[in-house]
Point group: C2
Chain length 161, copies 2
């Protein structure tokens, strides 16, 4: 088991784009639902010619238990098409190195178009980090930004709330 | 992806025990819940020194889509202890060969003690089968007998319904 310790930020502007070193298109969905009281999320992700099952504890905040297993792309595609709940999330993940850390910037498409979120993985909860100029408000503790939330309450509907 | 085509029966009596060729203790739980409207169940099972993640469509009846992946036992045990919803199912699975088919007879323990169910896997929905004398009423279409149901509504509570 890995422990995922992650901080999540909104973006102030588009200046991060100049620093991108790699971008990957990702499609993902969830076999679990938010409303059923499950203690973990089960994610299916296809990224290029690879696919993964990912299981994470649903605890809110910076640290979560995490397991990840590679699976055949055809299996994952069937799950996305037939077994996942809610909408499928479609996004570009951009990679930016800053201050000795790898930042992952998710630029959402489809029902979540307009939403851009930067994540950085840490080795401990109290690790000091230097924030890039383009990092805005921290949203690590806001459940709306969980990808598992975005399949049920996509960004396009947030205006209605 | 495999397609699971399975018929499930209650047991008339204990005469099947004489025909058992192998028995395995199994502990399993679910990362999905029944109430959340998920379209698939995600099961974690530990059986001896092996463990598996299993994903099945939640369609009712004889045929279901099924995926299964081996995972480390330590991962599965952590999921059973911390991430599964509801109770963990503990059972003996007994194997009996009859009429050219392999029957799996689940004898439940703990909160489901007293429940014994026989399952037989078929290669098509209309495959003719010869029922053993000990096979009782068919319950393939009764959702109460789904293992994913038994974690939330264990057999010990059925009397109350």
């Amino acid at each position: 088991m890995a422990q995922e310790i992650e901080r999540k930020y909104l973006l102030k502007d588009g200046s991060w784009r100049d620093a991108v070193t790699e971008s990957r298109r990702m499609t993902q969905g969830y076999l679990t639902t938010l409303s059923g009281g499950a203690r973990a999320s089960v994610r299916v992700r296809v990224s290029g010619d690879a696919a993964f099952l990912n299981i994470k504890s649903m605890t809110l905040g910076v640290s979560r238990d995490e397991f990840e297993y590679p699976i055949p792309v055809a299996d994952a595609q069937h799950m996305l098409d037939h077994l996942c709940s809610g909408a499928v999330i479609d996004k570009w993940r951009h990679y930016v190195r800053f201050g000795g850390l790898l930042w992952e910037i998710d630029e959402f498409l489809g029902a979540n178009a307009g939403l851009v979120v930067a994540e950085v993985e840490l080795s401990s909860e109290d690790q000091a980090i230097t924030l890039p100029d383009w990092a805005g408000a921290e949203v690590s503790d806001d459940p709306r930004y969980y990808n598992v939330s975005l399949v049920e309450h996509p960004y396009a509907q947030w205006k209605d709330v």
